[in-house]
């Protein structure tokens, strides 16, 4: 499922799939469709729920965007995280995987670009 670019960007200007600039930015944004979330260094602690709120999609123990009625399983850096996935804190270079309707071996790492 694609995490779109432009989350957290007001009036985003696109160059293909990428956001090149916007009128203003929230503390966490997606500038490309790869799922990488950029968080301003001086931002207060942010959660996965904050990201989904900015995206405009629901997230809960049994709700993942347009998918409902199945448990949502969360993994951070390859390890399962119990509880409400919306409460997961986003930390630098975390690899967060959300799964529903089945199980796929989650990634435990990701080669990030600088930042």
């Amino acid at each position: 499922m694609l995490i779109p670019s432009g989350i957290g960007v007001v009036d985003p200007h696109y160059d293909g799939a990428f956001v090149r600039r916007g009128r203003c930015y929230f503390p966490l944004v997606t500038l490309d469709p790869t799922g990488v979330v950029a968080i301003r260094a001086d931002a207060p602690p942010v959660t996965l729920g904050d990201l989904f709120t900015l995206w405009g999609q629901p997230l809960g123990p049994t709700r993942l965007a347009g998918f409902a009625a199945h448990p949502v399983h969360a993994f951070v850096n390859g390890r399962p995280v119990a509880g409400d996935p919306a409460q997961i804190h986003l930390r630098r270079h975390d690899e967060v995987v959300l799964e529903t309707t089945g199980y796929v071996v989650p990634h435990d790492s990701y080669r990030f670009a600088d930042g």
Partner: protein
């Protein structure tokens, strides 16, 4: 934006992902698989490609699509471009096979992967179509883009959807006509002329009663 930190979220719909990648369960870990769902070219993330080269490759791919050869291109310059699967760096064909499974849903996409180590192809043509094509070693992502532009032209020509390639930008940003443009455009034209000449040569001659109209049409064929 300055002073940022990054994290990454991947959302996997497991039933769908398992269906698509039975042998490679760790789906959706590479940036190109996301970008190519929306765009036709995925460029390196860390080692940026210069704008003139981006414009030239985008144009080449667009012309190929218009000509009936809708190829998608992933340029991989560093392991960062592979996200969760950096172990496939320098293995272009392995990565192309992996990537194709991630981005194919109802259709089988034509795919070209370009790394410094070589090319990876899925459904876009045989490796022999790119035989002899060199990847510049000194120009980073721009060199990979140059190789991609030429490869798109050669693959399109091999698939009998020849295109006129855009000029390949020079190192300083100016444009110079690439030899591949000549190869891709002139070679099929020369082939057509050769076939026409052979057909004309082998056609039974009508030595008597040949009209001026016949001469005119014959001239038209060989022109």
């Amino acid at each position: 934006m300055t002073g940022i930190r990054s994290t990454r979220l991947a959302v996997l719909l497991a039933g769908l992902a398992l269906l698509l990648v039975p042998a490679l369960a760790r789906a959706d870990g590479d940036p190109a698989s996301d970008v190519l769902l929306i765009s036709n070219v995925s460029y390196p993330f860390q080692q940026k490609t210069s704008k003139p080269f981006v414009a030239a490759l985008d144009l080449a791919v667009a012309r190929a699509k218009t000509a009936g050869f809708p190829i998608k291109v992933a340029i991989i310059a560093t392991p960062v471009d592979l996200g969760a699967i950096p172990e496939l760096f320098a293995k272009p064909q392995q990565y192309a096979t992996f990537l194709e499974k991630e981005i194919s849903y109802n259709t089988k996409p034509l795919l070209l992967v370009v790394m410094q180590a070589g090319f990876g192809l899925v459904a876009s043509g045989p490796p022999s179509a790119l035989a002899g094509l060199q990847i510049p070693t000194q120009r980073g992502s721009d060199g990979l883009a140059i190789a991609a532009i030429k490869a798109v032209g050669l693959l399109a020509a091999h698939a009998r959807h020849p295109i006129v390639l855009p000029p390949i930008p020079a190192a300083g940003g100016a444009s110079s006509a690439g030899t591949s443009s000549i190869v891709v455009f002139v070679a099929p034209l020369a082939l057509v002329l050769l076939v026409a000449a052979v057909v004309g040569f082998t056609r039974p001659s009508r030595s008597s009663g040949r009209s001026e109209a016949d001469d005119a049409s014959s001239t038209g064929e060989s022109a």
